[in-house]
């Protein structure tokens, strides 16, 4: 009887432990692991593609003769990853809504990136043409109007042209409106001109208008293309996903453990009735524990591996980001110079080719002249002359003689455009940076303000209180940079509060034999921790692309070099006051 019951119990115990084992194997989340790793990998791939996509777009912007194939080629790859992620278990499975929403936001951002890239391409293509055409159109109009002794209109066209150019260098809403109004006014009086003027003038106006209208659109589409907010969201998504996954894993093991304990107790109860069964069951459960421990170890390892990989790529991306601002600046300048250089180059090729053909024609002419002197047969002579005129005709076609005036015209336009860019850069560093001289700090403030104007939002007022101070000895260009940096910072500090009653106060005064320059804003202010690091190179609190993190380091370097000091007062939430003092030196008698 006892034997029978213990056999019965033994069988029961085996069945029970078998069921337990089955349960354990079934709940081993191996599959989930793969999905987790895949999702993380796909998010990272999408981030990388996204960053490379921006660079490809910038490349077309800064390269002459570029085509858009490469930029378009990203589409299918991005699309595939987007689709994979949107049907992954992260989007549809049993995960918290916050995580799902984060993923949706990330994917939507990638989608809107596509749109931004398309707008960038379209705007860029149109602007590229108009930028090239406008100088030509303006010059041609000027020549025509001056021929008709219409100096007045010639001057007004010139004025519109110059203002359009100035706007393109430093676009702002106010100038835009007034410029568009003046262009429209000109458009309305088109009928008053003879047709020979009205047509080219109409074209000039259309192109100027397109440039003015599209400039801000183009800039903002570039901004959107370059600004890698997707990267940030992607990182957040990865971090949250990982945190969730670790938690989920832990809960799962907790549950498993409870089940395990529970079954162990049950098994032990059985063992009291049948020692044999209990021993067997105990052996089984020992194996079970080992298996479980092994499972946890493996999983932890896999997880650590995945997170190490992920954080590694994050470091790389941060590196990319610091390159990004610089890349954009280089791309912009390169674009402005490279576009005209591009057609200067190709036009030169045409010219070169034409010159060769002309050279050959001239050589042929001298040979002909020589030969003719020695010929007396008129048929022979006329045959040679016929041949020669065919050659002339061919040369005219092949050397594109008819095109040459326009080609040269194009090139002049290109050179003019490059001159504009250089002049602009020249304004920035009027003299060589190391050139030292006596200069008036007031003028410096005014010119810095002009250059920083672009950064100051429209609601912000600038108050100047510039007292007469002695001239400073040093580098005006460097001092200019100090002021631009400080004004920019003030403007950005106001911008990030989003307030519409921003105020920047700039004062100069003479205090204790020192020239004091104070720049005060009612922006977001600086907290203590930031204040400690603020003069360190590469320290920045701004969004990617907004600041290189070098601004204040440069400020301190330059001011120290001039024998001065920089002071900083700030109340978080109220505003900041940067003050720097420069020593007054005795001006040598002339």
């Amino acid at each position: 009887m006892k034997k029978i019951s213990s056999i019965f119990l033994l069988v029961g115990a085996i069945a029970f432990s078998g069921a337990l084992g089955f349960y354990l194997v079934k709940t081993m989340p191996v599959q989930q692991d793969i999905a987790f790793a895949d999702n993380i990998e796909n998010i990272q791939k999408l981030q990388t593609l996204d960053a490379a996509w921006s660079l490809a777009a910038l490349y077309t912007y800064s390269t002459p003769n570029s085509d858009f194939d490469e930029v378009a080629a990203y589409l299918p790859r991005v699309r595939e990853l987007r689709e994979t992620l949107s049907i992954s278990d992260l989007a549809t499975g049993d995960v918290p809504d916050t995580l799902k929403n984060k993923l949706m936001r990330f994917l939507l951002m990638i989608e809107s990136k596509e749109e931004s890239i398309e707008h960038f391409k379209s705007n860029f293509a149109v602007m590229r043409n108009s930028l090239k055409f406008l100088p030509l159109a303006s010059r041609a109009l000027n020549v025509k109007l001056r021929k008709m002794d219409d100096e007045k209109h010639a001057a007004s066209i010139n004025d519109l042209y110059e203002r359009t150019n100035a706007f393109l260098q430093r676009p702002d809403e106010g100038t835009r409106e007034s410029l568009l109004m003046d262009l429209n006014k000109k458009d309305e009086v088109l009928m008053e001109f003879p047709e020979s003027i009205a047509n080219p003038l109409g074209n000039f106006i259309s192109h100027a208008r397109v440039l003015v209208e599209r400039k801000i659109q183009l800039d903002s589409s570039i901004e959107r293309v370059v600004n890698l907010k997707t990267n940030k969201i992607g990182d957040e998504l990865i971090t949250q996903y990982k945190a969730y996954y670790t938690d989920a894993l832990a809960t799962q093991y907790d549950e498993q453990f409870i089940h395990f304990i529970f079954s162990l107790i049950a098994a032990l109860l059985l063992a009291i009735a049948a020692i044999t069964g209990a021993v067997m069951l105990f052996r089984q459960s020992q194996e079970f524990t080992e298996k479980l421990e092994q499972g946890i170890a493996e999983k932890t390892e896999a997880y650590e591996h995945a997170s190490a990989e992920a954080s590694g790529s994050m470091v790389d991306k941060n590196l990319d980001q610091s390159m990004e601002g610089m890349g954009r600046m280089v791309a912009t300048v390169a674009h402005e110079i490279n576009t005209p250089l591009g057609y200067l180059g190709s036009n030169l090729q045409v010219l070169h080719n034409g010159m060769e053909k002309m050279q050959a024609l001239m050589n042929e002419f001298f040979t002909l002249k020589n030969d003719l002197g020695r010929m007396d047969n008129s048929d022979q002579i006329s045959a040679r002359i016929d041949n020669f005129s065919i050659l002339v005709q061919n040369t005219q076609d092949e050397a594109m003689l008819d095109e040459l005036p326009e080609i040269v015209d194009d090139m002049e336009g290109g050179i003019e455009q490059i001159q504009h860019v250089i002049k602009d850069l020249g304004d920035f560093s009027r003299k060589d940076r190391s050139d030292e001289d006596w200069f008036d700090i007031k003028q410096c403030v005014e010119s810095a303000l002009k250059m920083a104007k672009k950064e100051i939002t429209s609601g912000t007022k600038v108050q100047l209180d510039l007292k007469d101070v002695p001239e400073i000895f040093g580098s005006p260009a460097e001092m200019n940079q100090v002021l631009i940096n400080l004004i920019n910072n003030a403007a950005h500090a106001i911008e990030s509060t989003g307030r519409t009653d921003g105020l920047i106060k700039i004062r100069t005064s003479l205090e204790k034999e020192q020239v004091m320059i104070s720049i005060m804003d009612n922006g977001e202010g600086i907290d203590d921790e930031t204040r400690r690091k603020i003069f360190e190179p590469f320290f920045t609190t701004k969004d990617v692309g907004k600041g290189t993190g070098l601004g204040l380091a440069i400020v301190r370097r330059i001011v120290t070099k001039h024998g001065g000091k920089v002071l900083l007062k700030s109340i978080p939430g109220k505003g900041t006051n940067f003050v720097f003092v420069l020593p007054v030196k005795k001006k040598p008698q002339e």
Binding site: R79, E115, R128, S130, V350, D397, E403, E406
Partner: protein, 339 residues
């Protein structure tokens, strides 16, 4: 020399990643014909137009099936219209009418673009609403004024056929499905590239492949700024542009239809009003009439419109003619064109 070959390889690879298929189709043995020309002179690598790759990776079984389906009128509601009805491969991949005629004589609302080189385009349709060739197929099949069909009916008709069930089964495990029909047709369309045009030969280094007049036309094409949008392998087809970039086209033409709204219909973004995919000019010489509304009868007419509204400048007739001469050199080769 190594470098040049590498560059050419890179160029052809550039698009081949789109085709992750296993069989390499060597169209016409074109590669063999061309190789001496590749060696002839220095290829022009810095031009904004790139040659079409000489080969394309496609699955030949799918291409054969797709070809049948492309010519299959049973894809339409009343078994009268096939893809080839409007995209005749013998006439440049179009029907050369202003708008195509669908089932029961119903008139389309926009000019049919060519199906040649459609695999090189970044999106499909004038407004780019389909992202892939596969996606594109849903519209004409189900549009009541085009093929006016329903997928279940199409699949049923294909099941009843003698050859289709076997052909599908040989390629796709799940046999005749909507996705597989689309995939086969799309694969056939991807094989419809037209490499080895005279202009491509010129780009690959054969300086005499195009005449002086045609070269002049190309120079003008670049100088007037057409190249800003019509660039890349397909000479277009890789970006959107507003129609009326400099001067408003629709104000002048009037009678604005829904189709005229272009990409706005897809995105709802006001910036996308009258925005269209820049069409590829590869087959332009064979595919009149032109523009999305089919109002330009000849290439010269189309150029007139482009100069007035897109470029905002004037050009002498002589220049426009030279550009037409250049555009004609863009037409390449494909066996279907000769059948």
């Amino acid at each position: 020399m190594m470098l040049t070959t590498k560059q050419i390889m890179k160029n052809s690879e550039h698009f081949s990643w789109q085709f992750t298929r296993n069989v390499k189709l060597c169209l016409l043995g074109v590669a063999v014909i061309c190789s001496p020309q590749i060696l002839a002179g220095e290829p022009l690598l810095d031009e904004p137009i790139k040659p079409i790759p000489l080969t394309v990776d496609v699955d030949l079984k799918k291409v054969a099936l797709g070809r049948l389906l492309f010519h299959e009128p049973r894809l339409s509601g009343d078994n009268t219209v096939s893809c080839a009805t409007c995209h005749d491969l013998k006439t440049g991949g179009v029907d050369r009418t202003k708008v195509s005629i669908g089932i029961k004589g119903r008139k389309g609302i926009i000019n049919s673009p060519t199906v040649y080189n459609s695999g090189l385009l970044f999106r499909q349709f004038w407004d780019g609403r389909a992202e892939t060739l596969e996606d594109q197929i849903d519209w004409p099949i189900q549009n009541p004024i085009e093929m006016g069909s329903q997928w279940p009916d199409v699949l049923a008709k294909l099941y009843d056929d003698d050859k289709y069930p076997g052909m599908f089964k040989a390629i796709y495990d799940d046999g005749i499905t909507r996705e597989n029909v689309k995939n086969a047709i799309a694969e056939f369309e991807r094989s419809l590239i037209t490499p080895n045009s005279r202009f491509d030969q010129y780009l690959r280094g054969d300086e005499n492949a195009i005449t002086a007049k045609e070269k002049r036309g190309y120079m003008l094409f670049k100088r007037y700024g057409c190249i800003s949008c019509h660039q890349g392998v397909a000479v277009g087809g890789n970006m959107f542009q507003v129609f009326g970039a400099i001067n408003s086209y629709f104000k002048v033409r009037g009678n604005i239809t829904e189709a005229d709204m272009g990409r706005f219909n897809v995105t709802g973004n006001p910036e996308d009003k009258h925005v269209f995919k820049v069409p590829s000019l590869r087959m332009v010489a064979l595919t009149p009439p032109y523009l999305h509304d089919g109002t330009a009868k000849t290439m010269l007419d189309a150029e007139d419109v482009m100069f007035k509204f897109q470029l905002g400048r004037k050009a002498p007739k002589k220049d426009k003619e030279a550009m037409v001469a250049f555009l004609k050199t863009l037409v390449g080769e494909h066996p279907e064109m000769k059948k």
